[in-house]
């Protein structure tokens, strides 16, 4: 596989959907409109925690222009039947889409209105009368697990290994991984470092708010246009929540303005469906930025305690990690994945990893890039750094001494296949940024991390045009250039240029079932289906050439986009190029089309090592990132520019998480900063260029060696920045964000 000489893979063609995007033609979620379309508005809870005693929607209908009003009671009682595990629990999902008996966070949808104008819809929503019985909010892990905590869900009994409470609690699940003898491990250690870390709730921060347009037909069929990472997920979940048969729902994905995991679930779609059914008109629902912050999934706030022991020679021996992740209103924080990631970069003979999924009266978390891993890495990678410091070892050296490699056993059980962790460390050590001179109040940090890269289900179809160009259709919305990568894969197999392939994103009726664009799986899993379908096309092209030449199939080889005679058959014929064969499709057997479907196992983990240099302003406490370097194993970079883009974008999000971003709640559980002014994401002037080094250690499960690349880049930065700030100030920052007041307080503490 590594021997293969690629012609297209690894090149940087201009993306196929680029022209539409630089000219403003591309249609995103909010850009769709239909004749006669109504506008919708959602009434949201003003309380973080309350029982809904009664709802009277009738006053809304008196507002001129209002055509339909719904509340939670207009939806079927959600059951666990048809529960689609990969998307989470359907009753919880349904109750999150619209509250039925109880609101669980400020901003929880309670009712929705459709009207001829957005103003009328909003006026209608304001007229709805809701009587609440207000309950105490539960706003952090400490109060959620306290013995006298207000319980969010009466039927929530903790799952997982003993000891766990058996009566209802706010702890949904315990995950426990262990190996060796932890006490012995610490006893055998020469140094032991122990610290506790916290990270706040943060949002994915995609620039495009959620939006949907729904049309229902007289026969009950429903068409949904929306911005989503997974049209098939939207179809399945909307069917579950509304009770409409799945086959009556068609989901057409728009271009998507960022997701990062946040658009893997549904919020507006069932509401728009129900409003459209009741009004008999198309309905559009678009969230405001404030609604996005209040009512869509951020990622967990976390509390992580790490205790780690090492020998004088730099060998890590033992580690104990205890993690609490907030899930928000319903169970399902990514603490399980956090447990699986926490210690998996290094070999520990003795370890305990203990994770708790805790519900609080805050928005329900959704996936966010490598869900769960950055929070764990924030703690573990800082402690690793401190161990290196205590032992007087270079932090990369210490990591190299302990880094996992092929055939090492991961704490979660299986052995690693080929992975590129060490290679990223070696490359980082060689990078000029690792030896650049630092000035006063400057410091350098190192951190590593990884993510798994999901497999799941994918399908792809490829068909030939009469002129020899090809079209590839998949069911994966393109978040960051995946269409370009898909065209490259087809082009590689067919031996043509990537610009001769048109990559399309299908809808749920034109593409075969395909799981989400997410989990770093598109280039990997969907790529496998594309390659397989393309290889089938090549076989058919050879068959057609064989027919034209009157030889057997094995008398035709495929080279550089041409059929050439082989095995001495028909040696007097001229090679046939793709266009020549395609032009004769009708005479040689009809259209040339192929499809393939796959459900591969998870791709081996993709590791990364990051370097960060910061300067700390002693007057203001402001941390400025001077240099940032990301080194990552991509397996094989199909379109290197978009691989670099993932690395840079993930790093920037991680830097924001480290330095600025956090949800701020008041004592009633109201988000105090639901806008981009106060929820401060990095802007261009906050960041330097982000240097990238792509390492390629082939993934043995993929024909080109591809691993997913999208998620890993957000894993190291939290700790990497914190390690750099520690180097610059001599202080450890265990709570995010590392904001100027925190830094000043620490410096002034001297």
């Amino acid at each position: 596989m590594s021997e293969r000489k690629f012609k297209q893979v690894g090149t940087r063609p201009i993306r196929h959907d680029g022209l539409e995007k630089v000219t403003g033609r591309a249609n995103f979620g909010a850009d769709y409109s239909l004749p006669g379309m109504l506008q919708g508005a959602v009434l949201r809870s003003p309380h973080a925690h309350a029982k809904i005693v009664s709802i009277d929607t009738s006053p809304a209908l008196e507002v001129e222009g209002v055509k339909a009003v719904i509340s939670g009671r207009d939806f079927p009682i959600p059951t666990r039947e048809g529960d689609r595990q990969q998307y989470g629990d359907v009753p919880d999902l349904a109750n999150n889409v619209i509250a039925r008996d109880k609101v669980l966070y400020h901003g929880h949808a309670v009712a929705a209105v459709a009207a001829t104008t957005i103003e009328a819809a909003q006026r209608g929503a304001e007229k709805i009368r809701v009587e609440y019985e207000v309950l105490p909010p539960v706003l952090d892990i400490e109060s959620a697990i306290a013995p006298d905590a207000a319980i969010l869900h009466d039927d929530l009994v903790c799952q997982g290994p003993a000891p766990v409470p058996s009566s209802p609690t706010n702890v949904a699940r315990r995950t426990l991984l262990s190996g060796g003898d932890i006490e012995q491990g610490f006893a055998d250690s020469d140094v032991v470092v122990e610290r506790e870390f916290t990270t706040p709730m943060v949002h994915q921060g995609y620039i495009e708010p959620h939006a949907t347009v729904v049309e229902t037909l007289e026969n009950g069929n429903v068409t949904i246009w929306c911005c989503t990472q997974g049209p098939f997920a939207v179809r399945g979940l909307t069917a579950s929540v509304t009770g409409i048969e799945l086959s009556k729902i068609k989901v057409i994905p728009s271009e998507i303005g960022g997701g990062f995991g946040g658009k893997t679930t549904i919020y507006l779609e069932p509401l728009a469906v129900e409003l459209s059914r009741r009004s008999g008109r198309p309905v559009k629902l678009v969230m405001s930025r404030e609604e996005v912050f209040r009512a869509t999934g951020p990622t967990s706030a976390g509390r992580v305690r790490v205790k780690m022991g090492a020998r004088k020679d730099g060998r890590l021996v033992a580690a104990e990690v205890v993690m609490y992740y907030e899930a928000g209103a319903f169970p399902g924080s990514p603490v399980g994945a956090g447990c699986m990631c926490a210690l998996s970069a290094y070999c520990f003979d003795h370890f305990v990893i203990d994770g708790y999924d805790v519900v609080t009266t805050k928005p329900r978390v959704a996936a966010y890039r490598a869900p769960g891993a950055p929070i764990a890495a924030f703690g573990v990678e800082q402690v690793v750094d401190e161990v290196a410091e205590r032992l007087g070892l270079d932090p990369i050296e210490l990591r190299l001494l302990n880094a996992v490699q092929e055939n090492d056993v991961a704490p979660y059980g299986p052995k690693y296949q080929a992975i590129g962790f060490r290679e990223t460390l070696e490359e980082a050590r060689k990078h000029p940024n690792y030896s650049a001179t630092l000035g006063p109040n400057q410091g350098r940090g190192v951190a590593s991390g990884f993510w798994f890269n999901a497999g799941l289900q994918s399908s792809a179809s490829v068909h030939m045009n009469e002129d020899g160009t090809a079209i590839v259709t998949t069911g994966n919305p393109d978040i960051g250039g995946s269409r370009a990568a898909q065209a490259i894969m087809v082009a590689e197999e067919l031996g043509i240029g990537a610009e001769q392939v048109v990559p399309l994103v299908g809808d749920t009726e034109s593409a075969g079932y395909t799981d989400l664009t997410g989990g770093s799986r598109t280039a990997y899993a969907t790529g496998m289906a594309i390659i397989e379908a393309s290889q089938d096309i090549v076989r058919q092209l050879r068959e057609r050439a064989a027919k034209i030449w009157g030889v057997e199939l094995d008398g035709v080889a495929w080279e550089d986009g041409r059929a050439v005679p082989s095995n001495g058959a028909a040696s007097d014929v001229e090679p046939l190029n793709l266009a020549e064969i395609a032009a004769q499709m009708g005479a040689t057997g009809g259209p040339i089309v192929a499809q393939a479907a796959v459900s591969p196992p998870m791709a081996g983990p993709g590791f990364a090592t990051h370097l960060c240099d910061v300067e700390v302003d002693q007057e203001t406490g402001k941390v400025t990132v001077l240099r940032y370097t990301t080194v990552q194993d991509a397996g094989k970079a199909v379109h290197p520019s978009y691989v670099e883009g993932q690395m840079q974008g993930g790093a920037a999000q991680g830097i924001g998480w480290a330095l600025n971003e956090e949800y701020i709640f008041d004592e009633n559980g109201v988000v105090e900063n639901p806008g981009f002014l106060d929820y401060r994401m990095p802007v261009a002037s906050d960041l330097p260029m982000i240097d990238t080094v792509i390492v390629e250690v082939a993934n043995p499960l993929h024909p080109y060696g591809v691993r997913g690349v999208g998620e890993t880049p957000i894993v190291p930065p939290l700790a990497c920045v914190a390690n750099a700030v520690a180097a610059a100030t001599g202080k450890r920052f265990t709570d995010l964000p590392i904001s100027p007041p925190r830094v000043l307080a620490a410096i002034d503490g001297d």
Binding site: R12, G24, G258, Y642, Q648, G649, Q653, F676, V683, A684
Partner: protein, 168 residues
């Protein structure tokens, strides 16, 4: 509420539309004129996705009232390319892969064009500060800044000093 009639110039052509008195220019462009290339990310002036030119000045269209553009001249992303010719910025954004999801791209291109009109040879720092009103969550800005600086270099006939391998 009575709708207001507004006459204005959009991308060099005269245009008219009806709007609510309190409607934003962003909503008027998108909903009354079907010019959906201008995007909404926040509606509070904080993301730059809705950037347009108003009488030659860069503004967030969500913060401008639609009736205010009466008799004035509005430039949107739809007017940046000339006929079949992409603006050099559009071309460089494509070559540098300066977009991932692309929702921020129209705003960045309009804002960067305003920058280059004012300062044809910006430093990296000047470009970063000028574009600090435009949020991009996907790219980390690296390739966007490179695309802008490379455009400036090309338009000035100097060599693309800021390019890296990304342009291939």
């Amino acid at each position: 509420m009575a709708r207001m009639h507004v006459e204005t110039t959009i991308n060099g052509e005269s245009a008219e539309f009806l709007c609510q008195p309190g409607e934003s220019l962003l909503d008027a462009l998108r909903n009354e004129l079907n010019l959906t290339g201008t995007k909404e990310g926040c509606n509070t002036g904080d993301c730059g996705a809705c950037s347009v030119m108003l009488d030659g000045r860069l503004v967030p269209s969500c913060m401008v009232l639609a009736p205010e553009v009466e008799g004035r001249s509005v430039g949107t992303i739809e007017g940046v390319a000339q006929g079949d010719e992409l603006h050099p910025l559009q071309q460089k954004f494509l070559e540098h892969a300066a977009l991932q999801c692309g929702i921020c791209t129209p705003g960045f291109i309009v804002a960067a064009k305003a920058l280059l009109e004012k300062n044809p040879d910006p430093t990296e720092e000047e470009a970063r500060y000028w574009l600090a009103g435009n949020l991009c969550r996907c790219t980390g800005y690296d390739k966007i800044i490179r695309a802008v600086l490379d455009t400036a270099a090309e338009m000035n006939g100097t060599n693309g000093a800021a390019t890296n391998g990304a342009a291939g």
